[in-house]
Symmetry: C2
Subunit: 512 residues, 2 copies
């Protein structure tokens, strides 16, 4: 049976794993009994342990679920340090439940899979050699991909039950009061890790920077932490701020960014008190710059900017063009270190950011979001997780979550090299077309036909052609031709959850 | 059978209510499965309701547990507004579980008890007509008195299961992002209320000040809140800051304060990086002033000040004499409004402050605390809940919790009018003598014999006589004579929990 984005979800998956098939983006309001950890109380005044080995041996057992955060991105040392020990000690059948997996983690996860140490993974995404290995059937059980909001939901409802969370932090006192904004490896908001700190049975902080007690502001609190492990270094400061946050000079990206800004400013949402999420990446930063000019020209201020935050967004805050920055993660050093001085830069956890199963997430109040795509199809469905070769090479991130905005703009080049971005059918549906409003490419924009209101407003923008999504897809096809049909085996290697926990798609093993 | 502070706890109470009898202040480390609420999710963007009536009718049912906080102290309007409706709608058999009860709440609680609306109460304390009514057997079931840390423990472990929390706040946005530090009724830290916001099944914010969305800093978060009720006024700003926080000019209080400071500065804990809690009350403020002078003179700085915070403590922070203020509540306007500008004034919840059943409370790291007493006896046991007439007229507050400090000083006048403070046996044991180190009165100090180290250090203080506690008690008796033996009936009207949840004493109905 096909689900409501036309994807075949095998019956046995639905039954065995107790899944519902994706139905609708308007999935209504759930009533959920929150999960809670078992707490081992202590009145000790020092939780510092020098030996990561000892802590791993004390806390990890075969079959457990262990977690990490990805706030250090490609500069992360903690994941590899911990996983090295876990592999060397020969633990088996672990479930890996990080907030996401970055490239620097690939090699050791592949090794852990090969040795039977890791047999289950849930993550926002993966890339490189790990994505390749998974797509070729390396892991025993299917990976479960969840959005940032979906992970928060799964943790809060007990679907993900973390036994031990290993959380790298750029500072902590001896009791576990820690934040992400101080120290040489500061990364800013601890947004994703705050979920693990609240819900994991055992919380292990790993830091290279022990501060005097009590360390404040305490984003993670001593009441949540079991061990503080002192190591030489938790990360490489130069690799925490993603290179992808540099401002683009590429003319195509600039054109797309300018068009995105035109779409925003011609929409009914561009008015005093509007809110937006732009994300990272060259085009996104350029959008922020163009948007700034339009805000000044039109004397319009935003109530809040949301999501992964970059320095240009902080500049808007400091200029008074944005009232509040609601910050679940920071993509560059400028955004990370500004948390200290800007009291209107509020750290939020992944639940507050995007969990549909709580009493209101920030994304529910979002007016405008700009999101990327590996592929978008003629039903406006978006794929951000698998390549055109069928191999896993991306992450859901907050894509499904932020697409709940009143105006969801997909910004992407029409083609990338010899590969079309706008396609008849995306390889994997991550975000349903029902939550996408406008697709912006360098050749013009395509508007979701269900948004007749936008069709009227956005056709008068000078120099911005409006195409149907089918026309856009054909233009792409004219450029790069029709690709060879992908070939997959029957084996499912990954499940893609929609943010409500239903299955929106599965990913099959690629045929060699 | 008598417990370890010599109090007879009726067997039927222990059995029926599943209590352990108090054993020891070193009760060890528990393993507790945390409780968690059932969450009704929403994606609505506005939770504001004009009618408190509607919300009360929607949320309250017979037999439920409802809660309030006492951060507005004697300036609270919210408690009376809500209770008026609850009484008028004729709800029955409710359990009242506020963080504490202030005098302004007395009349309506007595009425609610009389009408069978409230049949159970748990609180930090009570005074005036309510204490009188309870002591004369007005309530169907015994009141349970818990310390602030004990309440946090009880909530986190599910012993107190709050169905609806009505939380007054000086500001909130339409989704429930709120703090205690803005608005004309600002009271500062929301420390006690944060427990209710996290654990109650339904959270109702009541405010007179709706702020633009998103309101930050958000001490209470939209993810926790079901309704935001707009009312005309939540409190009387003039009555929030307690009158008890004015600086004393009373020579006896000044003498006691000076002696307390001598005890601190002659103790081994007065050194760089020490920590302290002074609390409120004229003598306490005077101690803070004397302590400041000693810190300057000796070039000693404190790592943190804890507990209920007053302006003089904030002055120390701003002078750099205290590194951090860990703030569970503020006793005056100066402390309340300074939270905004002082990033080293960290808001902490009651669990972090004092819960013995978590991964480390601030009180566990406390060096010096100054606490008050209604009575202290020759076993150093302290009573802060019942008067010498046996009638309930006080509150545990953080007394039991902070008494875990390395140096616990009880500061009190030897007698009050014709009533002795130092007595052979306290009317009710709230804080066991095992956690009390020094008693300071205007005639000198008494040192707990188990603290031989202190006995040596504190005997050389010029002008500060050291007495045995028995000598001190006799001095008091010489002044005021031997009081008539109190007469109680066999009926237990209140249970006094120790911070670990064991029963340290019971309070019986007074005989007319």
């Amino acid at each position: 049976m096909k689900n409501n984005v036309g994807r075949e979800i095998p019956d046995e998956i639905l039954k065995e794993k107790g899944y519902q098939s994706f139905q609708t983006v308007d999935f209504g309001n759930s009533v959920i009994q929150r999960d809670a950890p078992k707490v081992h109380a202590t009145t000790e005044n020092n939780k510092v342990v020098d030996s990561l080995q000892d802590v791993v041996l004390k806390t990890v057992k075969d079959g457990m679920t262990i977690s990490f955060h990805h706030h250090f991105r490609e500069g992360d040392y903690v994941f590899n340090k911990v996983m090295r020990l876990i592999i060397d000690y020969g633990f088996k059948n672990l479930t890996l439940a990080p907030s996401s997996l970055t490239n620097v983690m690939n090699e050791i996860v592949v090794e852990a899979i090969g040795k039977g140490v890791v047999t289950n993974i849930t993550s926002s995404g993966m890339r490189g050699t790990l994505g390749d290995a998974i797509s070729h059937g390396a892991l025993k059980n299917p990976v479960i991909f969840r959005s940032h909001g979906g992970r928060a939901r799964a943790i809060e409802s007990g679907k993900i039950k973390i036994d031990v969370a290993f959380l790298g932090v750029p500072n902590s006192d001896a009791m576990g009061n820690a934040n992400g904004m101080d120290g040489k490896t500061a990364f800013g908001s601890l947004g994703y890790a705050l979920m693990d700190a609240k819900y994991a049975e055992k919380v292990v902080l790993v830091t290279d920077n022990i501060k005097p007690y009590p360390n404040t502001p305490a984003s993670i609190k001593q009441t949540q932490v079991d061990y503080v492990v002192k190591v030489d270094a938790v990360g490489d400061p130069d690799k925490i701020g993603s290179g992808a946050t540099r401002f683009t000079k590429d003319p195509k990206e600039l054109k797309i960014a300018k068009t995105v800004n035109e779409v925003i400013t011609h929409s009914p949402y561009f008015k005093e008190g509007f809110s937006f999420q732009t994300g990272s990446g060259g085009a996104a930063l350029a959008v922020t710059r163009f948007l700034r000019q339009s805000m000044i020209a039109n004397q319009i201020k935003a109530s809040f900017a949301l999501g992964g935050i970059t320095k240009p967004t902080i500049d808007l805050l400091e200029e008074g063009l944005v009232q509040k920055v609601m910050d679940v993660q920071d993509f560059d050093e400028g955004a990370a270190i500004s948390m200290h001085k800007n009291k209107n830069q509020q750290e939020i956890d992944a639940s507050w950011y995007a969990d549909p199963a709580n009493k209101g997430a920030m994304v529910d109040a979002l007016d405008v979001v700009i999101l990327s795509a590996l592929e978008v199809d003629t039903q406006f469905n978006v794929n951000v997780i698998s390549g055109s070769d069928g191999v896993i090479r991306g992450a859901i991130g907050g894509h499904q979550d932020a697409a709940t905005a009143k105006l969801t703009i997909i910004s992407a080049p029409l083609v990338r090299g010899r590969i079309a971005t706008v396609v008849p059918n995306v390889t994997t549906v991550v975000t349903p077309g029902d939550s996408v409003d406008v697709v912006v490419t360098e050749i013009g924009i395509a508007i979701n036909p269900k948004r007749k209101d936008l069709l009227k407003l956005l056709t008068k923008i000078p120099g911005v052609p409006v195409l149907t999504i089918e026309e856009m897809q054909k233009k792409a096809q004219e450029k790069v031709g029709i690709p060879k049909q992908l070939e997959f085996t029957n084996r499912v290697v990954a499940l893609v959850e929609y943010r409500d926990g239903s299955l929106i798609d599965v990913i099959n093993e690629v045929k060699e």
